[in-house]
Amino acid sequence: MITRFLLSNMDRRGFVFLALIAAIGLLVPLANLLLPAGSPFHVSTATMSLWGKYLCYALLAISLDLVWGYCGILSLGHGAFFALGGYAMGMYLMRQIGSRGVYGNPVLPDFMVFLNWGELPWYWYGFSSFPFAMLMVLVVPGLLAFVFGWFAFRSRVTGVYLSIITQALTYALLLAFFRNDMGFGGNNGLTDFKDILGFNVQAQGTRAALFAMTCVMLISGFLIARGIVSSKLGKVVIAIRDAESRTRFLGYRVDRFKLFVFTVSACMAGVAGALYVPQVGIINPSEFAPANSIETVIWVAVGGRGSLVGAALGAVVVNWAKTVFTSGFMAPYWLFALGALFVFVTLFMPKGILGTAQGWWESRKRPAPVPAPEPAPAE
């Protein structure tokens, strides 16, 4: 049943995407580890980590597309779930430092010693165990999304009001995590990681394994999201996006369907955050910044809202462009470029890169296309 759930209705684009990510996940680590540094096909560890970061963003974009592109919930706070997953991973990595910290305390992370804390706060218990920490990567964002969604969707908060409170949610978390007495390292966050599962985080082999793992999780996330949107539940969710009250009069409990996709999406964002942290080497409260969540919305819009492959593509393209633009003489203009890109896509490519390319391809193949309905306004 599960296999059928994951693989039924897979289109060609989906297969191409899966094959591509699988190939990258296999070949890039091999090219990094086996080829000599002088080889033209050698991939440097820095480049690999950079692309690993992009792929984490791609998973975050897929999770946002699931709620925004398919269910019409414009979440402007998805970065919060990403950051919470990242913090759960960061807490595990902090506990792995052990007595190798600056202060040499075997239990307490450095920042706690610095703050003269006597013992580990209760919510840090268990994070020395990898399975527990990984469970928390899913549970913490998922639970927050569930509780938040429970109240928001039952009270029928929709549209711009919902977007604003998701934005407020991530901003509230930003302020909370900045506080030293929260016990998450204040504005410095968590860093100076040493080991993951006994392997040195900085080592080339570990980096390669993390990259491969990111590809595996991206594939899994894509398959789950794909399974959801191509099931009947996916049709219900699209129906909710396009005509919420009609769906309700058909007998579907709209709030429960929204809650389901919102929670699944938050867990997915949490996993993306957890993979991001060891590759970047730090997690701090700036990950909760509202601007991050808004940028994620831009990636999805650029790539193609309502297409999972498009969302992933948008994340990679925009972030690659960001790297290029912010590292050269054009660095001061990046935000202008990002803004211009968003305006351009909204005006001229409302279906994003992928949707536009597809439309162009189809119009070449078939000169007289069936008139498509007007795209639903972004809620």
Binding site: L233, A243, S245, R248, F249, G251, P373, E374
Partner: protein, 254 residues
């Protein structure tokens, strides 16, 4: 067909008594009483602002009445339930403006409406059974859209959307159907076909039709209730109602 359930307070399928609702002091419905028998088809007419749509909102759970009783199947108090619960009890609604899911194919629109378990898990692992597929094909035939099943509903004409929505109601297989102005914006030919379609449906469902078009109501040939300022002004066969002086005064505007 619908035998009253044990403990039923009334044998009527739908029973409204003394229902009132006001919005910001404006009494949209005042002391409305109405009963629909199992298997009955009823036409409701009334000038704009008579409370026709508000009445439908109350029955389907969109609006809660300030006072009064709304009973379904003799024993279920509809004022305590939300839209989804009421829909699952077997009350279907067709809106004035055709509301279909534009980005789904015609077939998927019917599939979404098809009577089935509506829970999250059931829909996540849904497999359409051959019997259900047969029913979908049958409905597509009835509403004359079988050859367009793969097309997006958004590409249909206004009249075809109306039929698709009626088809969705058929798929829902409700005990009671509320139909708001099914002939609005249709050509004469389409209107006549819609009347045939509704009469077909009324053979094994109770139906309430709200309509302005007198010709259409004459074609249906059913009992008529006239609403005015939120309550019932007259009730009876169309000829009798249209001979009523008060009705002529408020509705026919003479």
């Amino acid at each position: 067909m619908n035998a009253p359930t044990p403990g039923a307070l009334t044998s009527s399928l739908l029973y409204l008594d003394g229902v009132s609702v006001s919005f910001d002091g404006f009494k949209a419905i005042r002391g409305l009483s109405l009963t629909i028998e199992p298997g009955e088809m009823r036409a409701i007419i009334g000038p704009n602002g008579a409370g026709k749509t508000t009445m439908m909102d109350i029955i389907t759970g969109k609006t809660r009445p300030d006072e009064g009783t709304v009973m379904f199947g003799g024993s279920v108090d509809l004022t305590r339930l939300d839209e989804a619960a009421i829909a699952n009890l077997g009350i279907g609604r067709k809106f004035q403006k055709p509301t279909v899911f534009d980005f789904h194919t015609i077939e998927d629109n019917i599939l979404l409406a098809l009577k089935s378990k509506r829970s999250v898990l059931k829909t996540l692992f849904w497999q359409t059974e051959s019997q259900q597929q047969k029913r979908i094909d049958e409905i597509l035939g009835i509403i004359k859209l079988a050859d367009k099943r793969e097309r997006l509903a958004g590409s249909l004409s206004h009249g075809q959307k109306q039929w698709l929505e009626i088809g969705m109601l058929l798929a829902q297989d409700p005990k009671l159907l509320l139909v708001d102005e099914p002939a609005a914006g249709m050509t004469d030919g389409e209107t006549a076909q819609t009347a045939v379609l509704l009469k077909e449906i009324a053979r094994d469902h109770s139906v309430i039709v709200v309509e302005h078009d007198m010709g259409f109501i004459r074609e249906l040939g059913v009992k008529v209730t006239v609403l005015h300022e939120g309550s019932v002004l007259a009730e009876g066969p169309l000829d009798q109602v249209s001979a009523n002086e008060r009705v002529v005064e408020v509705y026919l505007g003479r």
